[in-house]
């Protein structure tokens, strides 16, 4: 029982990363109808940025946690203004290809400067111990990751559902043309929303740096899983992407804990679930069919 609780808790931590990444992807897709392939590379930049801030600027984890999401959000804003916006009128496939190309450039740029080897990065001293969670001990850093992820998802939820900005973003996301006809300058929200989604990926990257291998390819495989999570939750569904992120994290942890021969299943599971969900509800668990244009 205690073991089960431990694995459950641990699954939530794994899900936290998926949820943060899926959330960013979902807000970007909702607003721009762009599937941002570069999300994994931004996650990598978040982690690498933390490493560079530490080794070349001397700023520790806490600074990185604050600065990297902001810097990457600014980077996202620049990318949106200079590149994504230019392709906005064309088939969404063009922007998908753009972000795909951007991924390769970012990965190779980091690779050529820092090599493919993983770079060392430690958890901050304050969080390097364990916390007593009653039934079991758990690494403090992981508890911190879960708390941050829940707080961020909660804050986004509040922002979207309880504020006027959130209402406008929801309207612009759901029916962009109708919303402009009602006096909403939808274009004005595109850039900040893109930057915000990118910032979330950067945050996930900084959080990953102390516990995962920091190297140029760290986001390359992960992003495929995150795509599956977003599809399961319902493309563009904010709530769905977060819920699916945590759910997949949990299920993966449970299946892996079953034993030796479950490894393969735990990896393909997310895609099996995706296929099942698509057959059952083509728009995803929390998605809606696209409104007619």
């Amino acid at each position: 029982m205690v073991n089960f609780l431990q694995h459950t808790f641990n699954g939530l931590v794994g899900g936290a990363f998926l949820a943060l990444l899926a959330l960013g992807l979902a807000v970007i897709f909702g607003m721009l109808r762009v599937v941002n392939f570069a999300h994994g590379a931004i996650y990598m930049l978040g982690a690498f940025g933390a490493y560079v801030l530490l080794t070349e600027v001397g700023l520790d984890f806490w600074w990185a946690l604050l600065l990297m999401p902001l810097l990457l959000a600014l980077f996202g804003i620049a990318v949106e203004r200079l590149l994504v916006a230019r392709l906005a009128r064309l088939d969404p496939l063009y922007n998908f290809l753009l972000t795909f190309g951007l991924t390769l450039i970012l990965q190779d740029a980091v690779k050529s400067r820092y090599g493919v080897q993983s770079s060392p990065y430690d958890a901050p001293a304050l969080l390097s111990g364990t916390v007593d969670l009653g039934a079991f001990d758990f690494p403090a850093y992981r508890v911190f990751v879960l708390v941050v992820a829940l707080a961020v998802c909660g804050a986004v939820w509040w922002l979207l559902t309880r504020t006027r900005i959130g209402m406008v973003v929801r309207a612009a996301t759901e029916r962009p043309e109708l919303s402009t006809a009602l006096g909403i300058d939808v274009g004005r929200w595109v850039t900040p929303v893109f930057g915000f989604g990118i910032g979330l990926a950067g945050l996930a990257g900084v959080l990953a740096a102390p516990i995962r291998a920091v190297n140029p390819l760290m986001g390359a495989d992960l992003i495929i899983v995150v795509f599956a999570v977003v599809v399961i939750g319902g493309l563009g569904s904010i709530f769905g992407s977060v819920a699916a992120g945590f759910a997949i994290g949990l299920v993966q942890a449970w299946v892996q804990a079953l034993g030796e021969h479950w490894a393969l299943l735990s990896q393909v599971l997310v895609f099996l679930v995706m296929a099942g969900v698509l057959l059952w509800r083509p728009a995803g668990l929390f998605g809606r069919e696209e409104a007619p244009a």
Partner: protein, 230 residues
């Protein structure tokens, strides 16, 4: 207030409006009739600035709207009542009502809207797409009233409504008219149109083929119905 001069519109190569001209003064209700596919919705979309392939002049209060994006036109006083009623699955009824900015000198406060439409008040926290068809139509109209829009672009607001609701739509439009609001009304229901409108334009294959004063309609009713294919 609104002047349309020699307006043409295309979908790709296909020309669907061929030099349409018409005027609407403040407090005037003008209908646009015509068979399905005549180009009525396209004309409204051109005025709203939602249609990209257009040529010709659209003027509001003597200022050309050419090149202005839709959200600016809305802020200049255009109220959009689309044929699909424009509801949101992610917005409640109250949010759907308060989403647009207030753009005119004479907006309805929310309380007044809910007084006039008690059904909407009862469902105020429900997603607006979950309302019935009639309620959604009322919502779309109530929304532009709350904006204080000076010119309403209404695309078949009575379509599919019960006679009781059709009458209510009529009341709303007449009330708006009394406050000096102008209405460009796309309408297939000729009988209803005569109860609210000052003038009628008949649109066929992208051209205005006939323009009538409301008083002239009675005499020509059979002709017109034949034109509309009813």
């Amino acid at each position: 207030m609104l002047r349309i001069d020699d307006l043409s519109a295309w979908y790709g190569e296909a020309r669907v409006l061929r030099g349409v001209s018409l005027d609407i003064a403040a407090g005037e209700v003008v209908t646009l009739c015509g068979r399905n596919g005549a180009g009525k919705t396209t004309l409204l979309r051109c005025v709203m600035g939602l249609h990209t392939g257009q040529q010709g002049l659209v003027e509001l209060d003597g200022r050309p709207l050419t090149g202005q994006p839709a959200h600016r036109r809305a802020r200049a006083g255009l109220g959009w009542v689309p044929d699909d009623r424009g509801c949101y699955a992610t917005l409640t009824v109250t949010e759907t009502l308060t989403l647009p900015p207030v753009v005119g000198p004479d907006p309805w406060p929310l309380e007044r809207v809910y007084e006039a439409f008690p059904h909407l008040h009862a469902r105020r926290n429900a997603p607006s797409t979950t309302l019935s068809g009639g309620e959604q139509q009322m919502l779309a109209l109530a929304r532009v009233l709350r904006m204080g829009a000076r010119l309403l672009l209404c695309d078949e607001p009575t379509e599919g409504l019960s006679p009781l609701l059709v009458a209510q739509v009529g009341d709303i439009l007449r009330q708006a008219k009394q406050h000096g609001v102008a209405v460009l009304l796309v309408e297939q229901n000729l009988h209803f149109a005569t109860t609210v409108a000052d003038r009628h334009h008949l649109l066929a294959e992208g051209r205005v083929v006939e323009s009538l004063e409301n008083s002239e309609v009675a005499a020509r009713e059979q002709d017109l119905l034949a034109y509309l294919g009813i």
